[in-house]
Symmetry: C2
Subunit: 116 residues, 2 copies
């Protein structure tokens, strides 16, 4: 998916789950799990897209996943393999995190004109 998400393809209202986190210094296994979760999320009902940025210098990250509805986002949280990874996250990978569920009501975007 191109970054930033092309909102022109998404029609508000839809749901954004904002996941902010600070990683532990030792996050062994995290990268593989993140790739796997991205693949698994993409197969879920109501999945619209995901964006993720981490600053390796500060260990701070923001991931935003987009869903058709709150019910779709809630169902993803409950998927067994995802729930297991959330447990490992709390036990090992994250020193702290925050989750916010939000309804996007307006969206617009900008892209520099490509010069020939």
């Amino acid at each position: 998916m191109p970054f930033p998400l092309i909102e022109s393809s998404l029609e508000p209202p839809y749901v954004a789950v904002i996941f902010s986190s600070v990683q532990e210094p030792d996050s062994d296994g995290y990268d593989d799990a993140a790739v796997r979760m991205g693949e698994l999320a993409a197969t879920q009902a109501g999945y619209l897209g995901i964006e993720s940025v981490r600053d390796t210098a500060t260990s701070e990250g923001i991931t935003v996943s987009y869903w058709r509805s709150e019910a779709d986002a809630a169902a993803w949280k409950q998927v067994a393999e995802h729930a297991q990874v959330q447990r490992v996250g709390r036990e090992r990978w994250y020193s702290s995190y925050a989750v916010q569920v939000a309804t996007v009501t307006r969206a617009y975007s900008f892209a520099r004109e490509q010069l020939p």
Copy 2:
């Protein structure tokens, strides 16, 4: 402000403005403007907080600012000095960006127990 934002201090509903961007290779002046805008935002009515992460390897960034209401977020967009910086951003700093305005309806957080 601690990262991630301590949602326990924020009571939904409130407004999140999700700003996703890709920086140009030459972003001269950007860092100073970002610091100044952070300071200026914090003086606005309805300001609740801001979180920002950029991956210097990919030039991708996500900034989320939090506001008491959509009207407060809209007023910040119109502040003259901020509007001027937005123009410079389109002209020089960003190859693309997307803005999404969302209402946070649920929030929860996790922090590892500090061992003595």
